[in-house]
């Protein structure tokens, strides 16, 4: 049967997502937020989620809606600072011990997700050594340099924003839209991409940035 990973709606793309899922969400630096899918996930309504996202509550992202809806148990992020002087909903929940935060250096987060997708269970990195973020982590010296042991991150679901997809699930990104998307696409059991255009015809082999092998469902959402 001819492969076609396009689905009719974001709601349909959430089919099968369960309570307790680990969800990887793309977006950083103002670009690449999978907001249509985040909204669909909120409406789908799974509980006890672990979110893996660069910023827990970026102003351009809708991740805060998942948190406000009480669907999130834990966040793995490199940043979790609200913009307002007062506390964000996340910060209040975190203060009250109602949500867990694992704060990770941004490059380590990207590398851990990439490792998850590439079958590398753990690696050593010099980043974070000697800081609070490395507390409790195994330290080992390579080439005279102290490194910490970091483990792979994998997800049950990845929500990725891209520009164009084809029916094979191949993806192309615009400029800095890519950020965490390509790695997250490789690291989840179910990868869903929201795109401006989901086309029938194949994207040219030399323009593809993420192979459709990694992508399970594609939803066209317009600009």
């Amino acid at each position: 049967m001819a492969i076609d990973k396009r689905v009719a709606s974001a709601a349909e793309a959430m089919e099968g997502v369960r309570d307790g899922a680990t969800v990887l969400v793309s977006g950083f630096g103002g670009a690449g937020f999978a907001n249509v899918l985040i909204r669909a996930l909120r409406e789908h309504g799974p509980k006890e989620l672990t979110l893996v996202v660069n910023s827990a509550t970026h102003r351009l992202s809708l991740t805060h809606e998942l948190i406000e809806a009480g669907m999130v148990r834990k966040v793995i992020a490199s940043s979790a600072r609200g913009r307002a002087d007062g506390l964000s909903v996340f910060e209040t929940l975190w203060r009250d011990g109602k949500i867990e935060l694992e704060c990770v250096p941004q490059g380590t987060m990207a590398e851990r997700i990439r490792a998850g997708g590439a079958g590398i269970p753990a690696f050593y990195s010099p980043v974070g050594f000697g800081t609070d973020l490395a507390k409790g982590k195994e330290v080992r010296i390579f080439g005279g340099r102290e490194c910490v042991l970091e483990t792979a991150i994998v997800g049950d679901l990845a929500l990725v924003r891209a520009d164009v997809a084809d029916r094979f699930g191949n993806l192309v990104f615009r400029y800095a839209q890519a950020n965490f998307g390509p790695a997250m696409a490789t690291a989840a059991t179910l990868t869903v991409a929201e795109v401006r255009v989901a086309q029938e015809e194949p994207i040219g082999h030399d323009r593809i940035q993420v192979s459709g092998v990694y992508v399970n469902r594609v939803v066209a959402v317009g600009s």
């Binding site: 670009a31 827990a56 979790a80 250096p105 590398e111 890519a178 950020n179």
Partner: protein, 228 residues
């Protein structure tokens, strides 16, 4: 001469950027350095969201939401630029392919430790981002910061009091009154603002500091202050 303003501090740091180098500028004061690069120096500015070759800020009518830097500012690309994903960006950073990163900081210690993620606001979430990766990965780490806190306490210290961003990595510090190198022997004063006496400088510095034999005056052109 009055203490340098933010644009002047960024200008001074920019003078030390070597022709042909690859440079990452932190959010805030460091990113201003791009505007003050001496003419004739061909530099690639990397932004940790994956842009290699950040050009000037985009004109408001040309802003593209997908073409932004790590601080979400609309930018342009310089000739020869490309954009990679976060794995590629931090591979470049961690792998030692960035010649210099210029970062903001709250404290720098005499052994090169520094602290730049502000965890002092009660119950506000952490804001770590890519600074730890940059501090460990770049070939040289420079810091731009005010020499003292608003209350007058020193930011150059024997040991940092705040949670560390990275250990033993800062090589040079540009403050509003001085340029300081961090050497295996500790701080060395390289340039001092005219009108600041050595005794006053020592009093405003929280660690022993050697004076370079060829100590120079810190000078900067008149520049309006920046709010970035």
């Amino acid at each position: 001469m009055a203490a340098l303003n933010r644009n002047q501090m960024a200008w001074r740091a920019a003078q030390d950027i070597v022709d042909g180098s690859v440079v990452n500028l932190g959010i805030g004061m460091p990113v201003l350095a791009a505007d003050h690069l001496p003419a004739g120096r061909d530099v690639f500015f990397q932004s940790e969201n994956g842009v290699i070759g950040v050009g000037p800020a985009a004109a408001p009518d040309k802003a593209d939401g997908d073409l932004v830097d790590a601080g979400s500012r609309p930018i342009t690309l310089r000739p020869g630029a490309t954009v990679v994903d976060s794995v590629g960006s931090f591979g470049m950073i961690r792998g030692g392919h960035i010649d210099v990163t210029i970062l903001g900081a709250f404290e720098v210690a005499a052994n090169g430790d520094f602290a730049n993620w502000d965890s002092r606001i009660p119950n506000k979430g952490p804001l770590v981002g890519g600074a730890m990766d940059l501090a460990v990965g770049a070939k040289a780490v420079w810091v731009i910061m005010e020499h003292n806190t608003r209350k007058g306490a020193p930011r150059l210290l024997e040991r940092c009091a705040l949670p560390l961003t990275a250990v033993r990595c800062v090589k040079r510090v540009f403050t509003d009154i001085a340029v300081i190198d961090v050497t295996p022997g500790g701080f060395v004063l390289r340039e001092l603002l005219a009108g600041v006496a050595i005794d006053e400088f020592r009093a405003r510095t929280g660690a022993p500091i050697a004076i370079a034999a060829d100590l120079k005056a810190l000078v900067a052109p008149a520049l309006s202050d920046a709010t970035a």
